[in-house]
């Protein structure tokens, strides 16, 4: 599903974000990427959604070589990957429903499709009753669930979550992780970038550990080893 072959990203001579990354994530996997701050986790996420182009190497998503993807094709790629970033927020002046609808509107989805998909994704994240609330009327965990709902509107094959639990308390963290696991059960590939050892150790799933831009361990039933 996601293949990185010898990928390096060099921002400038003294900032080599990632170096010679070889990575193969299969369909339906749940993979955590961990590592200290500044080791290139977000860089990998940005490479996968073609927000950045690799300096070296090859990236293949679902059999599609996106290494030299054209600007006009990027939206097609983005609709196959649901993105949950920490700084990728909700629009404060739109309701939950409008926030989710917005993602569909700007992709040219017809009204009928919008009307059927929104209840479905709200149900997945368990926010059916809160469609007409504004983000400020929701808890941090609920807001993040709306973001996840929004990432699901195109029925992506991949969910890419970069620190989705960033500033949430333990209970909300648990809820978000359970939600990601539930989405993974439907067959969606989940890539989770996190700092939180508790989460990783509880998951008992594949863990990839980065250090200074290099993969130092890749374990099937991994633990947080730093």
């Amino acid at each position: 599903m996601i293949k990185l072959k010898n990928v390096s990203k060099i921002y400038s001579e003294d900032t080599v974000a990632v170096k010679n990354i070889n990575l193969h994530i299969r369909p339906g996997e749940f993979v955590s990427i961990v590592g200290q701050s500044g080791t290139g986790k977000t860089t990998i996420a940005r490479l996968i959604i073609a927000e950045e182009k690799p300096t070296k190497g090859k990236i293949i998503i679902g059999g599609w070589d996106i290494t030299d993807i054209k600007n006009s094709e990027v939206p097609v790629l983005r609709r196959q990957i649901g993105v949950v970033f920490q700084d990728f927020k909700l629009l404060p002046r739109k309701t939950v429903l409008e926030n989710i609808a917005f993602a569909l509107e700007v992709s040219g989805a017809p009204l009928k499709k919008i009307k059927t998909i929104i209840p479905q994704v709200l149900k997945v994240v368990g926010l059916e009753g809160k469609a007409d609330r504004f983000p400020r009327q929701l808890s941090g965990g609920e807001q993040q669930r709306v973001v996840i709902a929004r990432s699901l509107v195109h029925r992506p094959k991949i969910i890419l979550a970069d620190e989705p639990t960033g500033n949430l308390d333990a209970i909300n963290v648990r809820e978000i992780i359970d939600l990601l696991l539930k989405i993974n059960k439907f067959g969606t590939t989940v890539v989770l970038v996190t700092h939180n050892p508790g989460i990783v150790n509880g998951l008992k799933k594949r863990v990839i550990t980065l250090d200074q831009g290099v993969i130092i361990s890749d374990q099937k039933m991994g633990r947080y080893i730093l």
Binding site: P75, K89, L91, F102, V106, S107, G108, H154
Partner: protein
């Protein structure tokens, strides 16, 4: 599918306009100033062209004939003149016609009417009115005529060379025109900068929406086109406002301008009403080109896709 996309793009475009309402108003205002200065230059050009034509049209040579000259000799002169390549038209005015029109011209003047009725004989000479094809042909025609066998038939001639007046008028209008174009160019430059800045500000205000759009895989048209629509909206509003200011103003000054054109068929305001759609179209084209170009520059610079 196509229409829903179009509807949304327009909706976003209008939202952009409203979101920075005052900035939009200022932008439209600057565009109005630009269009207005261009319109003034254009008006000036129309009036000046017509003024020069009016003067040129008044130029002719009047050839007067003694009463003793029989009509067929005059016709021979007319035929000769008409055969000249640089002559456009030769009009024959007989003694009787001359008297008729003289009477008609002074019909409100009782003393003239009285003295005319006392006359036993028509004092007015027969006339040939010669019009040349071009202004510079007149001297040639006169020289040729003087050297021809017909010269002795002509008792006198009247030729006012208006070239000096025309030259002076052209040089004045040319100067005003140049200044006008200079001012318009400055306005166009300012307008480009102002529209550019308005779109840049709007891109900045919407950075969150734009970020979301990119990450959820919005089509490029949904990201870019609303800003183009917004700039077209500026242009359309500015064109309409300019017309709304320009026409009442033209109608107000029109009588004064028309007075300058006594005896020549030019009605300024009717010119502008007859060409209404052309002028509106021109305003729209100019302002749309200005604002779309500058919004595209802003989009290119500040809107990563």
């Amino acid at each position: 599918m196509f229409f829903i996309a179009l509807y949304r793009i327009f909706k976003f475009g209008f939202q952009n306009f409203w979101r920075n309402f005052w900035l939009s108003i200022v932008t439209v205002f600057i565009l109005v100033l630009t269009l207005f200065s261009i319109s003034v230059v254009y008006t000036l050009n129309v009036v000046a062209d017509n003024a020069i034509n009016a003067i040129k049209e008044k130029v002719d040579i009047d050839l007067f004939f003694d009463p003793t000259i029989p009509e067929d000799k005059i016709f021979a002169v007319q035929a000769y003149l008409e055969s000249q390549p640089d002559v456009k038209a030769v009009e024959y005015i007989s003694k009787e016609q001359a008297l008729e029109s003289f009477r008609a011209e002074h019909q409100d003047d009782p003393t003239i009417q009285e003295s005319l009725s006392e006359l036993t004989e028509n004092p007015l000479p027969a006339t040939l009115v010669v019009k040349a094809k071009a202004l510079e042909d007149y001297s040639n025609i006169v020289v040729n005529l003087d050297n021809s066998e017909y010269s002795h038939l002509i008792s006198s001639r009247n030729f006012e060379d208006n070239q000096v007046v025309i030259d002076r008028l052209s040089s004045i209008t040319d100067r005003i025109y140049q200044v006008g174009i200079g001012v318009s160019l400055i306005f166009i430059l300012v307008a480009i900068l102002v529209v550019f800045n308005a779109i840049r500000m709007n891109i900045y205000t919407q950075r969150e929406e734009l970020g979301i759009m990119r990450l959820v895989g919005a089509n490029n048209i949904f990201i870019r086109l609303p800003f183009i629509i917004e700039s077209i909206l500026y242009a359309l509003l500015a064109s309409i406002l300019t017309i709304l200011i320009l026409y009442p103003l033209l109608s107000a000054v029109s009588p004064y301008i028309n007075n300058l054109f006594e005896g020549y068929d030019f009605k300024m305001f009717s010119y502008f009403t007859a060409n209404f759609w052309n002028i509106l179209g021109l305003e729209i084209i100019i302002s749309v080109v200005i604002s779309v170009i500058s919004s595209m520059i802003a989009i290119g610079r500040y809107l990563r896709v």
